[in-house]
């Protein structure tokens, strides 16, 4: 019973993070919600293993990003959604919305590893180690992808130049 409660609690707490991370990756809230729901089904199916994982959140994100990749719907969906979202005169949307669309547009043009590294570290708040585990690459590669993604956001004017690109790793921040 306690196990069930823990599962429900995990699903509830992880849901917004999964939808948010996936929306930044695939560019569509609808698809992000579909994929996040499927991810939770996998979490439920493997809960005994998930709860013992070093980072259950990293496990869920790994499944979520694998599902996004498997569905192969990112390009078609984003291609369908983006003209509707971005070709709309900016005057017709509120400034916050326009800014969000600009950020998502910038993210969509990043190479996938850079986008995923950025989202996993700074939206999902995973450590460098957990991000490396999700992306199946060395930690140094995660740092490189992150730094390059930040460079790109700076270059596109979305991020202040004043940001410290050599900011400490997330591990160090929380540690």
């Amino acid at each position: 019973m306690e196990d069930d409660r823990a599962l429900v609690e995990f699903c509830r707490s992880e849901w917004p993070r999964l939808v948010g991370s996936l929306s930044l990756d695939v560019g569509s809230r609808e698809l992000a919600e579909d994929l996040a729901q499927e991810t939770l089904a996998r979490v439920c199916a493997h809960w005994r293993r998930v709860r013992r994982a070093d980072s259950p959140s990293a496990w869920a994100h790994r499944v979520a990003f694998n599902l996004a990749k498997s569905h192969g719907r990112r390009q078609t969906t984003w291609a369908r959604v983006r003209p509707l979202a971005l070709d709309r005169p900016l005057g017709s949307v509120d400034p916050d919305r326009a800014s969000a669309l600009a950020v998502r547009d910038a993210l969509a043009t990043l190479p996938k590893p850079q986008r995923q590294a950025l989202v996993l570290r700074y939206f999902a708040d995973l450590s460098v180690r957990d991000t490396a585990s999700v992306m199946r690459c060395p930690e140094n590669t995660v740092k490189t992808h992150t730094r390059r993604a930040l460079d790109a956001l700076r270059a596109s004017g979305l991020l202040d130049d004043a940001i410290d690109l050599d900011e400490p790793d997330h591990d160090e921040e929380v540690g």
Binding site: S23, R29, D96, A108, L118, L159
Partner: protein, 389 residues
């Protein structure tokens, strides 16, 4: 504009419009588990039937391994969270995340082989074998055999009393519950604390041996090893030989395309075992993923020599299209202290666009860089010629 990237992302991410449908997730999970139990029950029946049949015929190992009993690729679905390992050329196998590759070395001169398992151990220390297995470890080695070696081992009697004779058979439809042609003791021929299962099989016209080491009668580990074997994917070779160019190709030659590999997108990124390998792989990723002057400056040996043609190449794509390209390093072979060969694949929108190309890395002022020839070889595909040096 903001200085806080977390705020920027949180303000830009979509919030869910509704709560998660946990009841639906649990229903899906229950359905999944029922299906798994059904498979497990059927497997158990098959195993019991096999054991009863084998006992009736005089013991394990005496059966005819050519009889493929069991489910059609029952374990071929890769469980969530498993890692997929790629072995050149054209071999894939997936394993639980805690399994590691074990450097046992090549089994048959130059042909692909991989040893995986948990816990990993120091292959240089033979004494590590038995204790690790005795503590519940399981190791699986899959190695390709040359046709000559396959013919030599096929049906050859072992140097063990009463050992069954292994025969080369077609790959079993399902490894789960399908008895291997040879079951013997593991770490050493006299060691009874470990058990070794050996399969010889033909898949996609290529010959393989698979060896699974476990504790004696450790059914759970055996079944897990067989499930891992079920994920083995082998691509047929276009040529009868399986050699991958290694040190025979000078690094400074124009990059060549290796024999076609599988059109897959799940090849795990290469993880180097040395700092040199990691740096080389990273430089290639930067070159392939970062299509900018900064990327060239950071990754290429002579960036100015390839700058103009690279711009010409990037100009052939829209920025959105260019962003769909990403690179994957499949292997790094350090040839000498200043040269290395790299097998890399370029994906477009997640699909293999330029598979298994051979490139070079060179050490410049102590740092590994992608060779100019590699960059120019890639650009040549787009009809762009680098200016003569």
């Amino acid at each position: 504009m903001t200085t806080d990237v977390r705020t920027l992302l949180h303000d830009s991410a979509e919030a869910p419009r509704h709560e998660p449908d946990i009841a639906r997730a649990l229903r899906s999970a229950r359905t999944h588990r029922r299906r798994q139990r059904g498979v497990g029950g059927l497997v158990a029946v098959v195993v019991i039937a096999l054991v009863v049949g084998l006992v009736a015929r005089g013991g394990i190992g005496g059966g005819d391994p050519q009889v493929a009993v069991g489910l059609r690729q029952g374990g071929s679905e890769i469980p969530d969270g498993w890692q997929t390992l790629h072995v050149e050329p054209g071999i894939e196998i997936s394993a639980p995340p805690e399994w590691a590759t074990i450097p046992l070395g090549g089994v048959s001169s130059g042909l692909p082989s991989i040893s995986i398992g948990s816990p990993a151990f120091d292959a240089a220390d033979p004494a590590a074998c038995a204790p690790a297995i005795a503590s519940g470890g399981k190791w699986l080695t899959v190695a390709e055999l040359s046709p000559e070696t396959a013919a030599a081992v096929d049906g050859r009697a072992q140097d063990l009393p009463n050992a069954p004779v292994p025969r080369m058979v077609d790959r079993p439809t399902d490894f789960l519950g399908n008895p291997p042609p040879l079951v013997t003791s593991g770490c050493a021929s006299t060691d009874t604390s470990t058990e070794l299962r050996v399969w010889l099989f033909v898949d996609a016209g290529r010959y393989f041996t698979a060896q699974l080491m476990t504790r004696p009668a450790d059914t759970e580990s055996v079944m897990l090893g067989e499930q891992v074997l079920n994920t083995l994917r082998v691509e047929p070779l276009e040529t009868p030989t399986t050699t991958v160019p290694t040190t025979t190709v000078p690094v400074t030659t124009t990059p060549k395309i290796l024999p076609p590999g599988p059109t897959i997108t799940t090849v795990p990124p290469f993880v180097g075992t040395t700092d040199d390998e990691r740096m080389i792989a990273q430089m290639f990723i930067v070159w392939m993923d970062d299509q900018s002057d900064a990327g060239l400056d950071a990754s290429v040996a002579d960036p100015d020599a390839v700058r103009a043609p690279s711009h010409e190449g990037w100009g052939q794509h829209t920025p959105e299209d260019l962003a769909q390209y990403e690179g994957l390093v499949e292997s790094v072979t350090v040839v000498d202290s200043d040269h290395a060969q790299v097998v890399y694949t370029i994906l477009h929108a997640g699909q293999v666009a330029f598979p298994r190309r051979l490139g070079g890395a060179v050490r410049v002022n102590g740092e590994w860089k992608v060779t100019t020839e590699t960059v120019c070889g890639m650009l040549a595909i787009g009809g762009i010629t680098c200016p003569a040096a």
